[in-house]
Amino acid sequence: MSNEHGNYLTNPKGIWSWLTTVDHKRIGLMYLLFVAISFALGGIFAMLLRLELFFPGQQFFTAKEYNQLFTLHGAVMVFLFIIPSIPATLGNFFLPIMIGAKDVAFPKLNLASLYIYVFGAIFCLASIFLGAVDTGWTFYTPYSTTTDTSVVTMTMGAFILGFSSILTGVNFIVTIHKMRTKGMGWFRMPLFVWSLYATAVIQVLATPVLGITLFLLILETTVGVGIFDPVLGGDPVLFQHFFWFYSHPAVYIMILPAMGIMSELVTTFCKRNIFGYRFVAYSSIAIAIIAFLVWGHHLFVSGQSDYAAMIFSLLTFLVGIPSGIKVFNWMATMYQGSIELKTPFLYFLSFIFLFSIGGFTGIMLASLSLDVYFHDTYFVVAHFHYVMMGGTVIAFLGGLHYWWPKMFGKMYSEFWARIACLFIFVGFNMVFFTQFLLGAKGMPRRYYNYLDQFQPLHAFSTVGTWVLGAGFFIMLFYMLHSLFRGQRAPQNPWGGLTLEWQTSTPPSVHNFDETPIVTGGPYDYGKEDAHV
């Protein structure tokens, strides 16, 4: 564990050295900080929303304030939290280490995308004070071009954040292609890297379309372009097409890295080689490609033509195949493994459970006839929270607990971590499973008021947010405790085989003291001289 340059956390010292760093590990940590703050902000919005819905009728917020709150919840969670969440934090930190590189291909660009992110975030936050947007995070025209709230500031923020995401994607693609160490063939890469690669492809191919769409929206609200304005012969549905051409692939930007983390967790904590490595790797790429073919399922009741709706419905079902391959392969990997129920693995199990529910209800919503009924109800809300929170956030937490010792060189309290995981799992299901029931009974989304008969379910869901919130609070405390008082972490606390566990804890400035040479697959558990 000799550190030629010392560990990256303390060398060099000083706040300025952090702000100007080009070290991917430090940039990852700074992202982690911002992303955590955004998550807390979005979470507070969500809890306020649920509080309002405890009883029918107006409690704390007017209808407009409620609209602004759910818009901010959505926009902050999507643009500021979940899109950068895994790739920009854990991805940034571990991608170069996992492929044995000293850094990403363009370290300065990496820092630039962090600052672009901060710059965009400032716009988004400024919009809260300039008359918070009340359009929903999707900014559908024609409402978004006529409302008096600060749509331009918010979309400007999202536009800028998009470039941060694109540049990260460019960086990752080049890093994976050009920076792999000797012996690190494509099929020796950890599956997390594969998933980041697929994510980066979507980031590069889809995000610019969001950029141009928001650019057109800004033009439309200022000087007009006419293409979204029905009065001039334009088509408001076209905005939805443009928007979802990005935003549907974007949900795969959110879930793919999560799936990558799952592959890491299941192998390490079962001490088994992944079942069907190539299938899991290729299914990431397949998801990335299919992602672009399905956006029209958001437009089933928007006035899209019947034929287009049928095509999109059919194509949407295809997503189930690669997703299913992944889940089955993880299950098969667990078979006969020596399973350790450590906290990260508890998150893995939660993910499997929640993501499966999210996935199956996704198939329901892809069916044209069912969707006409479920569209814009709580059923949809519950579905995407099961995928986005039950999938991505849970995986993010799993990854965070898995790599925390490596990142900070400190262990956290296993006991409290398990308690927090339990709170989050139970709280989450209380909040969102209830919403499946509400949706199936016909409760529409985005209303601050509702019929009396829904009250018990709404109240139960709100209580769930408190349990969920308590889980996160416990996590905050033991994580902070770990940072300042935690036990020193060993180099390889879980017995992982991928390269990040072979370097010192925390890693040295240039990741490895000696450039590693790879001689085997990433998950050769049970083989004698596995790796390096």
Binding site: L205, P230, L232, D235, F292, L293, I311
Partner: protein, 127 residues
């Protein structure tokens, strides 16, 4: 990864660049001349064909795609492919907006509730 410096890069002979340049100038004049005649429905395809040839020349010679490694080509082609998906699936909607499923249209005399966007109000009165 070879250990050589950039000396090893292939330097494209000037004649390639010069010929490409002349071809591009010629094609620009050609497309303007063609545009003066009316070929009816073929106007757009012809103009696009010439533009496509010009674009390919720029891509292949000026941007050096001809001498690139495989992946760059795959990358670029796939981006064009996704552009194709984008336009094709949107047209799947726009082009069939006015139609109602014949199974429903016949017995019930249904027409699509969606107003085709081409029948928008006049802009002249708007201003």
């Amino acid at each position: 990864m070879s250990q050589q410096g950039q000396h090893s890069h292939f330097i494209v002979p000037v004649k390639y660049y010069l010929r490409t340049f002349i071809a591009l100038l010629f094609l620009t004049v050609l497309t303007v001349v063609i545009a003066q005649f009316n070929f009816g429905a073929l106007n757009l395809p012809i103009a696009m064909l010439v533009a496509l040839v010009k674009a390919s020349l720029v891509l292949m010679i000026f941007m050096g795609m001809r001498w690139e490694k495989g992946f760059t080509f795959v990358l670029f082609i796939s981006s064009i492919l996704f552009f194709g998906i984008f336009i094709a699936l949107i047209f799947a909607d726009i082009d069939t907006r006015k139609q109602t499923d014949p199974l429903e249209a016949k017995p019930f005399g249904l027409v699509s509730p969606v107003r085709p966007i081409s029948s928008g109000n006049g802009a002249s009165e708007h201003h």
